[in-house]
């Protein structure tokens, strides 16, 4: 009989076993990078060496980058955390009626495919420089992708499952919450993951074009000053932030969607 601590130990050893290839790859890449920069005398403006990136970025972090990073994270959070529940709610409502599904699906598809960057210049003129307004395009984009995926999850319930629910005499309410919703969770989480990517894309895009704060702005600003190590550092910070966001979604998924591999 496996005790809880044994299972835990197994999980840790599995994690360690799976971690070393990517770590090895990382080490190799950094070593290669440093090597190329050193031997070919690549100017730091073109491609800075990794150690330079780390040094410069940490130097400027507290004084300058932190405020940009916080501004970006704030908007991502507002846009994402409002878009996701709205999207799920909207999909839940629409899925109740076949007519509604047919009527609104094309509209949602259009909203998802709309390239957000196209409307940003006009939007900028409307709202001015208050950075909180940046959250609205993010909200709309996240909400649309979450709605699309969630709706697809609700619609694609196997007939078998519905028959089962009917066999047990489930009410409409029960049918939705106990059968349809759990079945749609994998697709819902797919929507959440895509939402992460879209929200970061939109926020950074907006920051590039308007305003004086945010990681997107920082990249542009420091590029202008030719402080390339910091630029690379910013890009990495954005990447790491996104990866953490993604990780949170993945962990939640593991907790709630316990039946897939």
């Amino acid at each position: 009989m496996k005790t809880k601590s044994m299972l835990h130990a197994n999980k840790i050893s599995k994690f360690l076993r799976n971690s070393w290839p990517p770590l090895l790859m990382l080490v190799l890449i950094i070593a290669l990078w440093e090597g190329i920069v050193y031997f070919f005398n690549v100017p730091y403006v073109v491609i800075p060496a990794p150690h330079l990136i780390v040094a410069e970025t940490t130097k400027y972090f507290k004084s300058e980058l932190l405020q940009h990073w916080l501004a970006t994270v704030k908007i991502i959070a507002i846009g994402y955390l409002s878009g996701v529940p709205f999207g799920i709610l909207l999909a839940s409502l629409i899925s109740q009626s076949k007519l509604a599904i047919r009527a609104f699906s094309p509209l949602i598809t259009v909203l998802v495919t709309l390239p957000t960057m196209v409307v940003i210049p006009i939007y900028m003129v409307w709202v001015g420089f208050d950075i909180n307004y940046r959250a609205i395009p993010v909200f709309m984009n996240v909400a649309s992708i979450v709605t699309l995926n969630t709706l697809s999850g609700f619609i694609n319930v196997e007939q078998r499952l519905l028959d089962l629910a009917e066999g047990y005499g489930a009410s409409r309410f029960q049918r939705f919450f106990k059968y349809i919703f759990p079945n749609a969770l994998p697709e819902i989480f797919m929507g959440l993951r895509l939402g992460c990517t879209f929200s970061i894309l939109n926020v950074i895009g907006i920051e590039f074009i308007t305003g004086k704060i945010g990681m997107g702005f920082a990249v542009q600003y420091f590029s202008g000053l030719l402080k390339m190590p910091i630029v690379w550092g910013c890009i990495l910070i954005v990447g790491i932030t996104g990866r953490c966001m993604f990780l949170i979604v993945q962990l939640l998924e593991k907790k709630f969607v316990t039946w897939t591999r």
Binding site: N18, P21, P22, L24, M25, V45, V46, L99, R102, A103, F104, S105, P106, L107, T109, V110, V112, T113, L114, P115, T116, M117, V118, V119, I120, P121, I122, M124, V125, W126, L194, C196, T197, I200, L201, N202, I204, G205, F208, I209, M215, G216, V219, Q220, S223, M228, V231, W232, C234, I235, V238, G239, G242, R243, M245, F246
Partner: protein, 253 residues
Amino acid sequence: MAEKNVTRRALGIMAPILVFVLVLGLFEFLVVTLEMPTWLISKPSDTFKTLVANFSDIWPNTLITIEEILIGYVIGVTTGIVLALIFTSNRFLDKAISPYVIFLIVTPQIIMVPLLMLWMGFGIKVKILAVALSSFPINMMSTMTGVRSVSADRYELMKSLRATKLQTFFKVLIPSALPNVFTGMRLATIFATTSAVGAELISGNIGVGPQIAYHTEFMMVDISFAYVYVMLFISVMFYMLINGIESLVLRGR
């Protein structure tokens, strides 16, 4: 009974069209009744008039953006698929690369545009590369997932027939992974269009993005809106195109 079915089907087709008409109508209504200034917003009727009138100017710029999107997309998607096939062929590579693919997906590739500009200047290559960089990670990830999900059953079938590695690759692996590849391609269209316009706005002087920025700045919002409608149309058509190709290739499954 037959009549009820006909009405139901007609309603099914009419419903979305009705929704679109209502949305545009509402838009028009609000602009008119709230007396929104024409330099801030353009109502649909005005936008369409402007679109028709200025088509000869709007179209060439749109064409440039379309060119960026298409070339960048094809490069990105092809690279994504090829790299995915390479990296999944070896267990070590697969494990080593996977975490970084997510990293690439999550980092918006338009953030690379200032770097690209430093290396390549202001030309169209920067935009194409930005589009390619945006399209490839999601495609790579989807393809990798597709390859990994080929069931052991199928490999056993090939083993029982003593099929060669090449036969297994072309006759089982690729057809099995195809649905996932198309999922990636569909999502990549969205990244491609947004990145194209984004890259143009950041680096640019040509294409739809700068045109929108320019006309908005000079209070000619109706032309900006015209561009928005055109881009919307193109994005949707692009998405539908990939969907259509998918239906064709995957028919009957």
